[in-house]
């Protein structure tokens, strides 16, 4: 059974209690100051698309999903994070048409399936 899709507005990242640095994780220690005192912190799921690509030949573990679009997002809170773009609702999962979000456009977290974060382009842009 595939994991259920859970709607979310915030991304959970790691915050260093010593220096305040944020990191998408997982990490054993803060790579800025070396502190091991890290805590989970929720930040806004809003950001800017750095880039994206439609993976049409997935690795074996993902093959059952058909094509999917991986993205890199700069969160407004600071961390750069890897996730996926939501397949267009009218095309559903397994679409082979890339989303029309371009680098530099605003995106927002829609939710999470398993460990994978999903983003979508903002409607008004």
């Amino acid at each position: 059974m595939p994991d259920a899709f859970e709607e979310l507005q915030e991304v959970t990242v790691l915050a260093c209690r010593a220096c305040g640095a944020l990191d998408p994780g997982p990490r054993e220690l803060c790579t800025r100051c070396g502190s091991t005192d890290l805590e989970s912190k929720r930040v806004a799921g809003t950001g800017t698309l750095v880039s994206s690509t439609m993976i049409r030949r997935p690795a074996a573990a993902f093959r059952g999903e058909g094509a999917f679009e991986v993205c890199v997002v700069d969160l407004d809170a600071g961390p750069r994070i890897t996730g996926r773009l939501m397949p267009d609702g009218t095309r559903g999962r397994g679409t082979t048409e890339p989303d029309n979000v371009e680098p530099g456009q605003r995106v927002t977290l829609t939710g999470q399936r398993g460990e994978i974060l999903y983003f979508a382009g903002n409607q008004d842009e």
Partner: protein, 387 residues
């Protein structure tokens, strides 16, 4: 630090070697390098072997010791190094260090990989070991996917077109036609590239290097030993290894690999040279767009103009800076652990004036080998000793 010279080179063809064991490939290349140098094999003081996935793909480890045994070397330190696609370059740099630091007077670097015997899902799974699987693997990203991300951003920022990138594919595939070691050389046109399957938008099949078997070796020696060898003297003017982010999201700029930029700067400093002194480059074109980004990161092409330079033919043989006259990974092939040493092999032939696709008056060459998601990089500068 002592000066380091290349006394001998050897290589198998890159491609499919279905009837040959991985050790046999490595020993063939290593033996050719030793024989060519005329150095006694008992004088070899260290062996470094670059390999990435012999464990999962052919079920053989301890390759460094196995290959030294097969070559008839002494009871010397034999070390396997791994840095994904940069494994070969890392082996070369360690052999170079063994000479420059005075640890020994003769050292051999051998790179080898055997990949074509495994089915595609097995190869893909093995290659994905080069990703930070706790961070990037989760999203389902692949290596072609990384370069799809890079391409899309390069296109958005600099206006790089499909046709610009196709210029790289056409050039390297055509360069490979003159290289007897090349696996996938071809005369192809833009239409054929456009008609090949989409892998990760906008990257198509012909933008990707093939899966390959092969081995290459280089024998490095001190100045004193080099002077007694009959092979033309080629000096290692710089050999640099750097680390970049292990995670895609850790790269400050997806249109650049900071490990390459840092390695190139350090290599130019070490050699006392600047990018304009470089006569030709063998760089890590695992995907077509990678050549464009690498050429900018190495400083041989202005930032953002990699696509334009490719389109205008300025990176062809006879152009401002010939890139991948061997055919590169796209045409020559990419037996992962052998690739970085294969680049040295091609560069030494150019500097000896003996390459089948010779760059006129080649005196100084640069090689660039990039591993994983840019987590490991080596840049080497080689020069003719009269240059």
């Amino acid at each position: 630090m002592r000066r380091v010279f290349v006394a001998g080179i050897g290589s198998t063809a890159f491609g499919r070697h279905s009837g040959t064991d991985i050790e046999a490939l490595a020993i063939k290349a290593g033996d050719a390098a030793i024989r060519e140098s005329g150095v006694s094999r008992k004088e070899v003081g260290a062996l470094y072997l670059g390999n990435f996935v012999a464990g999962p793909l052919v079920g053989q480890e301890v390759l460094a010791g196995l290959v030294a045994d097969g070559l008839g070397l002494g009871q010397i330190p034999c070390t396997k190094v791994e840095g994904a696609c940069a494994s070969g370059g890392i082996a070369f740099r360690h052999a170079s260090l063994a000479i420059s630091t005075g640890a020994c007077d003769v050292a051999i670097a051998v790179g080898v990989e055997k990949m074509t015997g495994a089915d595609t899902p097995t190869v893909t799974a093995a290659l994905n070991c080069a990703m930070d699987n706790r961070a990037d693997g989760v999203s389902g990203l692949t290596f072609p996917g990384l370069f799809g991300l890079v391409w899309k951003l390069h296109a958005a920022r600099y206006g790089t077109t499909r046709s610009d990138v196709s210029s790289v594919v056409r050039k390297n595939k055509a360069n490979g036609l003159r290289n007897p070691l090349a696996q996938m050389a071809a005369h192809i046109d833009d239409e054929a590239i456009l008609n090949s399957a989409l892998i990760c938008d906008p990257l198509r099949l012909f933008d990707c290097c093939p899966v390959s078997d092969g081995a290459a070796a280089v024998l490095l020696v001190s100045e004193e030993v080099a002077r007694a060898c009959s092979t033309p003297m080629v000096e290692v003017a710089a050999s640099v290894q750097t680390r970049g982010s292990a995670r895609i999201a850790g790269h400050p700029d997806l249109c650049s690999f900071d490990a390459t930029v840092a390695a190139a700067h350090a290599a130019y400093d070490m050699a006392g040279l600047s990018p304009s002194d470089i006569d030709f480059v063998e760089l890590h074109d695992c995907f077509s767009i990678a050549e464009i980004v690498d050429s900018e990161d190495l400083g041989v092409v202005p930032r953002g103009q990699g696509g334009i330079w490719a389109r205008e033919g300025r990176t062809r043989i006879g152009g401002d800076v010939p890139i991948n006259p061997s055919g590169g990974l796209l045409a020559k092939g990419h037996p992962v652990g052998a690739t970085g040493i294969g680049q040295i092999y091609e560069t030494v032939l150019q500097l000896r004036g003996a390459h089948p696709n010779q760059v006129k008056d080649a005196a100084i060459g640069l090689t660039h080998n990039l591993g994983g998601t840019g987590v490991a990089c080596t840049v080497n500068i080689l020069r003719r000793s009269d240059a």
